[in-house]
Amino acid sequence: MIANEGEAKIGGAWAPYTPSPETPWDRRRVVHLHRRAGLAATWGEIERDLADGPEASITRLLDGKSRTYAVPSDFEATADLLADAAVASNDPARLKAWWFYRMMFGPDPLGERLTLMWHDHFATSNLKVDNLAAMKRQNDHFRTHARARFGSLLEAVVHDPALLIWLDATANRKGHPNENLARELMELFTLGIGHYTESDIKESARALTGWTVNDGDFRSVPSRHDTSDKSILGRTGPWSGDDLLRLLLEQPVAANHLARRLCRTFLGEKIVDEPAIEALATGLREHQLDIGWGIATLLRSRLFFADPNIQSRVIGPVEYVLGPIRALELLDPPASTLVLADWAARLGQDLFYPPNVGGWPGGRGWLATRAVIGRTNYAAALVDGRGIGRPVPFDPLGLAERHHQGQDRDALITFCGELFVGKAPNQGWHDRIVAALGPESSWGPDLARRAVALIIASPEAQLQ
């Protein structure tokens, strides 16, 4: 609950984190920040953030400036080329690879995580849209407005071909209403179940009549629009589709819905209660549903850095695939983005192909049998190289040496634990790894690779 209403700074549940003896700014918290809100950090980036403290480190991440390692100077130009080629080729795999390129090499991992969140929120599948240019355009909106006011994002996405095709908006005409867009707009995108009635949906569908796609662009066709009065959420008037968006954004619960989405993406299981969500929602209402304000408040908070929130959710496939690539500095030579995108799909997260409009259920559902096995197989493929389209195997001892770490077995296990989860594996975990490695006398590059694969695939490393 906010301590003093009217105060500019938020307090209570979302009071800012400051280091203390009980909650020090240590390696564990630095790794937690990057693992949860980014796409993992290199040893050097972790050391830098340890030295610079939370304020600077979080700000860097929020501002899209947290990566020092391997961001090409011509990143945006290369990304654009890849996107154009993907669209021209009409090969969805290449569009997925483009996004993986952005996530792997780009300077703004939080921005990409937010883009991924919006892709899940406004889940649109190319299976029906069947148009890579439209899917790419939608993805650009997610990225451009990732931290904007939610209203800007909503407006952009709902006036955009991909979503309109996906939710049959084009079939929605005066006298012939199709409720699909209206329903998902209220249920999934803005308000959530329980905050509108079936009548609101019907009336909203009428407000949305006339919206269509022509020549790959949004069009509003007056002759198809129902101009009569509609009663939506207690307000009556000759509402248009744009009026409807305004009405939805004005609902107080829109802020709660947005707060819930942010918490679901960036906080662990059972970390926030209803009062905390309401407090965040109140702040969002006061800040015109500014997503950037919301994410900054969340990431700077005591709650985010509290012990219960660390390693408190299952890591999703995209983060599981890309995290070790970044952390182990496997970018030169790089892995194949086509292959990595395929791995993520095998682990259950096929970009541009969410299972349905509800997005990816995520959470514990990421750990179905096939996915657990896939994750274990991925870890082995990663260190070997060939399975991720990399011509050389990973050299763990070389990496350890570059960062002045010991070369023996126990030192490497400790190093990997600190790199991936922010602390050395506890005795039980360490013993299990050792048991799976065989005799210490055989220690060398091959066993070192095996150790890394075992650590990445361990149950402990499935959490973020």
Binding site: P361, L367, T369, N377, A380, A435, A436
Partner: protein
Amino acid sequence: MLSRRNFLNATLRSSSLIALAPTVPGFLAQAARAAAPEQDSRVLVVIQLDGGNDGINTVVPFGDEAYAKHRKVLRLPTDQLIKINDHVGLNPAMREAAPLLESGRLAIVPGVGYPNPNRSHFESMAIWQSARLDPEEHNGAGWLGRGLDEIPRPVEGQPASLYLGTGAPPLALRGRLAIASAIERIDDIVLDAPITSAGTSTDDNDLAAFVRRSTLDAYTTAERMAELARGRDSSARYPSTGLAERLRLAARLLKGGYAARVLYTSQSGYDTHSGQLPTHGALLSELAGALRAFLDDLAASGLAERVLVLCFSEFGRRVTENGSSGTDHGTAGPLILAGPRVKPGLAGPMPSLLDLEDDDLKMTVDFRRVYATILESWLGIPSRSALNGTFDPLSILRS
């Protein structure tokens, strides 16, 4: 590349789950010891015939004098047909299915369709998969997905349906909550990597314990799959066709205790606009051979009573052959059901080849009646919301 054999030897064997038994919680140890599936829920296996199967040349109404009239080049000689009764017989290419017919494991529902038939592949298939006639309701959920939404998952974290094939699971399996898994090959669930034991920890919180359990479950399944892959699957002999391979995988999974309620696969190529005879024959031969091998395999493993196979297509084909020794898109067609629990034989009258509508077969059974029967009587799932209506059941299953 580190080989799976090495890992299994070095890790799972030496720290075997059974050896961990004193420290592994009781129910986990039981799960590891269990060789047979724990649940006796029934399974539906759907084989989707893509393209519009020519029902008239599959379940041939040789007793109908109009057959010879409408089918000249495509007429199948009566003496070659596999007789079901005095006026109906199966295409000879289905000879592998004759034992199924003889042992009462094959049923046919003739004349299945829906009002105002749609002859577009995409639209008609969407109708069949969503069980909705209005194209504007083909918006993302299917009859099985909706049905599975109504019941709890057989296993936490595991989808209740599985698609065997390339690409994404079909609309039929999609629900608001229900998600289908997809496997192309058994490699998908074969471990090819080093593993540690999942470990145990008394100070695990609920999430950590769940992750360990999931890991343990997965490695156990992988070990079982590895055993199956090592050829303990002795007597099962399958033809070397694509469909047979997928059904072999389905049988393997069922034998391994995979807890899906629905397994779904497809067979493409039925859109026989020209040169129909050899193509159609090859497809039906593949279908019959795969079906027989699958059901015999399940029977040998004591699982056949739990399985019902449904074969359907998005429409039948025109009664009169076209000028290219083929047929064009038609309307109603036969559904095939297979398994020891079917009520064998023809489930209704064959549509007449004389009493046509716009030169096409009149449907006699709405496909949603078949769906309703399967959902309610086979899978034990209420069908009203999945099908958006109530449909009279058919007598296609043994009681």
